[in-house]
C-alpha cells in the first residue's frame, strides 16, 4: 500500500449474471469516485487521507472463477482489501479464498443462511434475511381490510438456491401469519412453458401469487397468464420483477405487480436520492439495487478509517458488533457473526415507476383487476 489504498472486487462482468454485475460495477465506481473527491480515506497512522484505487476482476458468474479472480487480485494486483461480488454461491467461494489470504471481504447480496455457516473471521455481510423478507407480503396483507386479504395464496418459486431458500421462508412466514398456500410448486429455471402451471393455479382458484424467479421466467409467466386469461389481484415477485427490463418487457402489463428490492431511492437516507438520480440520468431508468452495492463500499471505507488500516483483523474489529449510521441503506448494526440486517423493500409498479409500499411507504396498494378490465 503506502500512499494509496487498493480495493479489489470480483464482479460478474460476463456470464449469466453480467446484468447485475454491471450495476454493481457502476455503484462501486461511484463510491470510489465520491470518496476520492472527498480526499480519500483518513488513515490516522499515516496522518493523512489516502486515495482509493479500485481494481475489478471478472468472475464470469462462476464459483471457480470467483476464486481465481480473487487469487489474481491478491497475488498479482496486490490489493489491500476486497469488495464482494453478487449472489450467495459466488460470495461463499469469494469469502473462503479471501479468508485464506487474510484479506477482508465486505459482502452484500448473499443470504445469511448461505454465508453464516462458514463462520468467517475476515468477511462481513449486510443483506436482508429471507425470513423477515418473506414476511413482507403478509405484513402488507395484515394492513389490508379483512375482505381484501387473499384467501387462497399461491407460492411459485424457481428451482435455484435462492428460490429454495425463499420457498422455505415463505412457508414459515405463512404459518406464522396463519395462511395456507392453495398451490405450492417450483418450476425448473429457464422453463419456456407455464401453461400447465397456470391451468393448475386456475384449478386451485388462487387469488394471490408469491413468485420467486428470474426476470425472463417471470415475464414469460405473466405474459402467458395474460394469454390464457388468468390474473390474480395480488402478484408479488422477487428477484425477477424489480429490474427495468421487467417493465420494458411487459409495458403496461407490469402495472399492479409488487416487487422486492434491496433499496429504494425514496429512502430518506443521506445520499440515496442523489444516487438514484445519478443512475437515472445515466441509464434512463431507476434501480432498486445500486444503493446496496454503494453502501457496501461505504461500510468498507468507514471501517478502514475506524481501523486505521486495511489489516483484516483490525477491520474485523471495526465491523463486528459495530454500528454504521451513515449509509444509503440507512443505519447498519452488525452482530457478533458479522451480519447486519437490512429491511426488504416492497414497491408496486405503476406507470413504469417503483412506488414504495413497504417499509413506511406513502403509496396505497392497488389490487389488480382482471386483464380485460384494465
Amino acid at each position: 500500500a503506502g500512499d494509496e489504498i487498493v480495493i479489489g472486487a470480483p464482479v460478474s462482468l460476463t456470464g449469466p449474471f453480467a446484468g447485475d454485475g454491471k450495476e454493481q460495477e457502476w455503484a462501486y465506481k461511484q463510491a470510489v469516485a465520491d470518496i476520492n473527491k472527498a480526499g480519500g480515506i483518513m488513515i490516522k497512522e499515516a496522518g493523512k487521507k489516502l486515495p482509493v484505487r479500485l481494481v475489478i476482476a471478472d468472475d464470469e458468474s462462476t464459483e471457480a472463477k470467483v476464486a481465481s479472480a480473487i487469487e489474481n487480485l491478491v497475488k498479482v494486483q496486490k490489493v489491500d482489501i476486497l469488495l464482494s461480488t453478487h449472489s450467495g454461491p459466488l460470495n461463499v467461494a469469494g469469502a473462503i479464498v479471501a479468508e485464506k489470504y487474510k484479506k477482508f471481504y465486505m459482502i452484500t447480496a448473499a443470504f445469511p443462511f448461505e454465508w453464516q455457516p462458514l463462520k468467517m473471521k475476515y468477511s462481513a455481510l449486510f443483506f436482508f434475511h429471507p425470513g423477515p423478507g418473506a414476511e413482507v407480503p403478509f405484513e402488507i396483507w395484515q394492513k389490508l381490510p379483512e375482505n381484501e386479504r387473499p384467501k387462497r395464496p399461491a407460492l411459485v418459486t424457481e428451482d435455484s438456491p435462492d428460490g429454495k431458500g425463499f420457498g422455505g421462508a415463505f412457508e414459515a412466514a405463512a404459518k406464522k401469519y396463519g395462511y395456507t398456500f392453495a398451490f405450492n410448486d417450483p418450476w425448473a429455471t429457464g422453463s419456456t412453458d407455464y401453461s400447465a402451471m397456470i391451468t393448475k393455479l386456475k384449478a386451485a382458484d388462487a387469488d394471490a401469487m408469491l413468485v420467486f424467479g428470474s426476470p425472463a421466467d417471470t415475464v414469460t409467466l405473466i405474459r402467458q397468464m395474460k394469454e390464457l386469461g388468468f390474473s390474480v389481484p395480488y402478484f408479488h415477485g422477487w428477484k425477477g420483477t424489480w429490474t427495468g427490463e421487467f417493465h420494458d418487457a411487459l409495458g403496461k402489463d407490469s402495472d399492479y405487480v409488487l416487487t422486492d428490492g434491496f433499496w429504494s431511492a425514496s429512502y430518506p437516507y443521506n445520499g440515496a436520492k442523489e444516487l438514484g438520480e445519478r443512475y437515472e440520468a445515466e441509464y434512463k431508468k431507476d434501480s432498486v439495487t445500486v444503493g446496496a452495492f454503494y453502501a457496501n463500499a461505504q461500510v468498507l471505507f468507514q471501517a478502514i478509517e475506524r481501523a486505521g488500516s486495511t489489516d483484516a483483523a483490525a477491520v474485523h474489529d471495526a465491523i463486528f458488533n459495530q454500528e454504521f449510521k451513515d449509509t444509503v441503506v440507512g443505519p447498519l448494526k452488525f452482530d457478533e457473526t458479522g451480519f447486519a440486517l437490512i429491511p426488504s423493500v416492497a414497491t408496486q409498479w405503476w406507470e413504469g415507476k417503483h412506488q414504495l409500499l413497504f417499509p413506511n411507504g406513502t403509496w396505497t396498494y392497488k389490487p389488480a383487476p382482471a386483464w380485460d378490465k384494465r
Binding site: L13, A57, E63, K100, P161, K164
Partner: protein, 324 residues
Amino acid sequence: MANVSWKWAAALLTIILALVPFWPGAIDSYLLSFLFFVFIYAVMAQGWNLVAGFGGQISLGSHAFFGLGAYTTAILWSGNYLWGSLYETFPRIYYFDPVTMVLSGLVAALAAALIGLPLLSKLRGDYFALGTLGFGEIVKVIFVNGGDFTGGAFGVIAPSSTFETLMPHYWTGLGLTVGTAVAIGWLMRSRYGLALIAVRDDEMAASANGINTLKVKVAAFAGSAFIAGLAGSLYSYYIFHVGPDSVFNLDWMLLPLMMTVVGGTGTILGPVLGAFIMYAVFDVARIIVPDYHPIISGLTIILAMLFLPKGLVRKILPMSVARN
C-alpha cells in the same frame, strides 16, 4: 529414441513443477493457484481422453462425474449424515483425507458403471454422446431435488477453517496429474490397452476376436469417471461449497474436452499440454480484457481448431511416438 527423450522431457517437467513451491516467493505468487487449476483441468482432460481418445467413446457427461466426486467429498466432509463430523473430531487427519478422495472417485465410477452398462450396450457414437449429455442433466436435477442430503439447490458447505495455504492442493493436483498420466500410459501398454484400442478401431472385429467389448467400454467409462471424481474431490477441497450449478456446470466437460483436442486426443501428453496452454490463454485474456475475454476465448478455440485440428502433440511429434 525420440520416445525416450520425450519421457525424459516429461519427467524433467514434473521435477520442475515439483520444485516450483521451493522457489523463493513462489508460495505467495499467483503461479501456484494458476497451476492448481491447470492440474484440475489436466486431470479432467486425461480422464476424458481415456474414454474418448483411447476408447473412442465420445462422452459428454464428464461434468456429472466431476460433480459426483465433489459432492461425495463435501457430504462426507461436512459429516452430518453418516457418522457425525469426522472433520470436527480429527481436523488435521481428515483434511485431504485420501480415503475420501478415493471414495469420491469410486462413487463416480460406480455411477458410471451403472449408467454405462445400459448406455454402452445400446448406444454407439453420437447417440452415446447425446445419452451422456442427458445423463449429466438428470444427475443435476436429482441433486437439486435431493433434499437435505444434497443440500438442494444451494448444495453443501464444508468447514473451511483449516484452509490456510494452497500447498496441499498444489501437491495433490500435481500428484494426480502425473499419476493419471503414468497410470494411463502404463494401462495402454497392458493387455487392457490392446483391447481398448481394438474396440476403438473396429468393434465388430474386436468382439469376433474374443474381446468382451461391453466390458472394455464400461471399464474405460468407469475409469474415466473415477478420474473425474478425483478431480471433483480435489476441487471440493478447494472451493468448500459444492452446489449443483457450479459442479455440474457444463464447463467442466467442455473445457477439458477442448483442452484434450487442442493438446492431442489419444496421446498421454496432449491433455496436460492442452490444459496448460488453453488455461493460460483464458487467464491472460481475462486479466488483460476483462470485459471482452470470452470473445477472445471463443476466437482462440475456433482458431486452434482451424489450424491445429490434430492437436499440438501430433504437430510436434511423429505419430508413432505420440500414440505412446
